[in-house]
């Protein structure tokens, strides 16, 4: 029987790891739920951002937060440009899946050409720092990432519910024609939202550079679990994405602690199936 310390520590690790799932899922959830575009290139943009942060940090000694200040606006521009293409060629939901998959493959190839396929690791002194709370250790970097993800999720959720722009976006996602009749310029708002989604990929990428391993093929490593998080959290719902991420992260981690680490990948999809079958009203 695992000890309480082991269970508590596993829960902390899982919730914090789930913060990354949520952070990655947010942009995808917004794009899919409110723009009806399934943007697989979101993962590629996150990893491209991670590689840029790695490059700036290891080659030029730029601190990650300064790199983020450069990467996030850049990704916003990429996201807005992507929407211009989708709009120009009237890309629908299914076609967006294929087009953004191709875009992700191109980005992956570009990363491999420039940074090679070899593993990259951005070593920082704060990567292993922890706060001690009783018998538990809370990794500082993971905690920071989780706080950032929470602030973004709550801020975006409020923005979508309390502001005219947010309400307009939600209305357009429900029925674009009716929303237009009430003066909502869906296209203009969509540029902003697409940019924000990609900017979130930039923020996720900054933390990926600091926490995870970089290799071009890693772009696809997060796809399955993040898709499960997006669906559990409900499309277009940033708070749902964050909470679902934490739920999956905690479930995976507890499975590692109680059963075997090999069970972790089964957990996310098992939780997804249970939730889809159960379909609780509160979700």
């Amino acid at each position: 029987m695992p000890s309480a310390t082991l269970l508590g520590q596993a829960l902390i690790s899982g919730v914090l790891a789930g913060g990354m799932y949520g952070l990655l899922a947010m942009g995808l959830s917004l794009s899919w739920g409110l723009l009806r575009l399934v943007n697989l290139s979101h993962f590629a943009l996150a990893f491209l951002s991670a590689y840029i942060v790695y490059e700036l940090g290891t080659k030029y000694g730029v601190a990650p937060w300064w790199s983020a200040a450069m990467v996030v606006p850049l990704m916003f521009a990429v996201g807005a440009s992507q929407y211009w293409l989708f709009d120009r060629f009237r890309v629908n939901e299914l076609a967006s899946l294929l087009i953004t998959f191709s875009f992700a493959v191109i980005v992956e190839a570009g990363i491999q050409i420039y940074w090679t396929a070899d593993y990259r690791r951005f070593e920082t002194h704060y990567a292993t720092e922890s706060i001690k709370a009783g018998p538990f250790f809370i990794p500082v970097l993971d905690l920071t990432m989780c706080i950032v993800a929470s602030v973004l999720a709550w801020g975006t959720w409020m923005w979508l519910r309390k502001t005219y722009v947010g309400k307009g976006l939600r209305a357009a996602a429900e029925d674009a024609d009716i929303a237009a009749a009430y003066g909502v310029d869906h296209r203009k708002l969509a540029y902003i939202l697409s940019g924000i989604g990609a900017a979130y990929a930039g923020i996720a990428g900054t933390f990926i550079a600091l926490i995870a391993t970089l290799a071009p093929a890693q772009i696809w490593a997060w796809l399955g679990v993040v898709f499960a998080v997006v669906i559990i959290g409900r499309l277009g719902n940033p708070m749902g994405a964050l909470l679902a991420g934490m739920l999956i992260g905690a479930s995976e981690s507890l499975a590692m602690a109680v059963l075997s680490p090999a069970w972790a990948p089964v957990v996310s999809f098992s939780v997804l199936i249970v939730i889809l079958l159960w379909d609780p009203e509160w979700l």
Binding site: P2, L6, Q9, G14, T116, Y119, T128, K132, T213
Partner: protein
């Protein structure tokens, strides 16, 4: 009759050794440049996909060797051309590409791909067409059942039994030998195979196996695993890791303020682990490092220098020749010795020659007459000391002044 057969066998061995050593040692200027239609050697590497990290290393090693061979006498006086395709790290793609190489591109010979799964896929095709296939990275030798498939890396026929004992011998030599072991492994087939062997051998030698854990290959979060490792607190942590998994695990342990007393890593990314502050005194498997006594083997110094130059130019973060690159070097050395020794491009003749002769390679003298065409096992242990890898065990392979360090 037996004596006569033995005499012939000895002659064969000596002839093979002499041919191999001469071809490695003699400068290319003394030989005529190869001419005529090129001998086309086909193969795949995982240039993209999740195994692509290794392909970059193998590709450089293969290019060096093709240049070396063409700088000597080529194959039977003809230049060698390497037809390399990308199997995308997928066994099914490897299978199709080997079919294409043999039937469409009509290559004369083939070289094996990287990693157990693509090798098994390619081996089926090689067997169907009777082609000799030399491979360097099949970590589960008993799966190599095709009689014209040959290993270029000296795993030995039962590495799951032999190598754990090398490691346990090393541990037993420490002033405070470990009494308990924790075996943690990726479910990547060759790592899992070795982990099971490690557990069995440790139990046989009376070590308490505090915990045996498996995780999925490509595991993202090591937090919970680290918590279990810390709680078990074994004297010796054996990790069947691939790539940066070792770094991730050690970092996760560091976050829990825990440092394993003795820790071994099976197939880690060597550069990042040696350079990591948590990697100090980490132990790792190897067959060769660019230091003495290995540099004294014929041609190794030159190949190591060229590898460093090319790998640096290719922007590889760890531009040092090690067991990965050496595997590919060995593949080409074996093929060169076999083709020129057998004086034929016929696969049956080449395979028969290999079974009767030893070949001098970067790994030393290899033979192919044991189970699954394997010879003697030659796994070594290296340790990260002051951010550099040093071979520490067996003692005979440690450079002067280098010793195994425990806690």
């Amino acid at each position: 009759m037996n004596e006569r057969a033995n005499a012939w066998r000895r002659r064969g061995v000596l002839a093979g050794l002499a041919a191999g050593a001469a071809s490695l040692a003699a400068p290319s200027i003394l030989r005529a440049a190869p001419s005529g239609t090129p001998v086309r050697v086909g193969g795949t590497l995982s240039l993209t996909g999740f195994l692509a990290q290794t392909a970059a290393i193998h590709k450089i090693a293969a290019e060096i060797m093709v240049n070396e061979i063409n700088g000597r006498n080529g194959f039977l006086g003809r230049p060698v051309e390497y037809v390399l395709l990308d199997d995308q790290s997928k066994p099914e793609v490897a299978r199709s590409l080997y079919e294409k190489l043999i039937t469409v591109d009509k290559v004369d010979l083939i070289q094996g791909p990287y990693a157990t799964a693509p090798i098994l896929a390619a081996m089926g095709v090689a067997q169907r067409y009777g082609k000799v296939m030399i491979q360097s990275s099949m970590g589960i030798p008993k799966l190599q059942t095709y009689d014209r498939a040959f290993p270029a890396t000296p795993f030995g026929p039962e590495p799951d039994k032999t190598y754990p004992n090398v490691i346990l011998d090393a541990m037993a030599s420490l002033p405070h030998p470990p009494k308990s072991i924790l075996v943690l492994t990726s479910k990547f087939p060759s790592a899992q195979f070795m982990a099971k062997g490690m557990r069995e051998q440790a139990e046989k030698r009376g070590l308490k196996v505090a915990l045996y854990l498996e995780y999925e290959s490509g595991n993202r979060d090591f937090g919970a695993i680290a918590a279990r490792v810390k709680e078990a607190d074994a004297d010796f942590l054996w990790v069947g890791s691939l790539g940066l998994e070792s770094n991730q695990l050690l970092e996760a342990l560091h976050k829990l303020d825990y440092k394993p007393r003795n820790h071994f890593h099976l197939y880690p990314a060597p550069g990042p682990l040696a350079l990591s502050p948590d990697g100090d005194k980490a132990l790792c498997s190897t067959f060769l490092e660019p230091a003495e006594p290995f540099l004294s083997r014929p041609g190794v110094k030159r190949i190591a220098a060229e590898f460093k130059e090319r790998a640096t130019k290719a922007n590889l973060p760890y531009a040092v020749i090690d067991a990965q690159a050496a595997g590919m070097v060995s593949e080409w050395q074996i093929l060169e010795a076999a083709v020129n020794g057998a004086n034929s491009l016929d696969d049956k003749v080449i395979a028969d020659w290999l079974k009767k002769h030893r070949v001098e390679t970067i790994y030393g003298s290899l033979r192919f007459d044991g189970p699954y065409n394997h010879g003697d096992a030659a796994q070594l242990i290296k340790q990260a000391q002051n951010k550099e890898w040093k071979v520490v065990w067996p003692k005979a392979f440690a450079a002067p002044g280098v010793t195994l360090m425990g806690t």
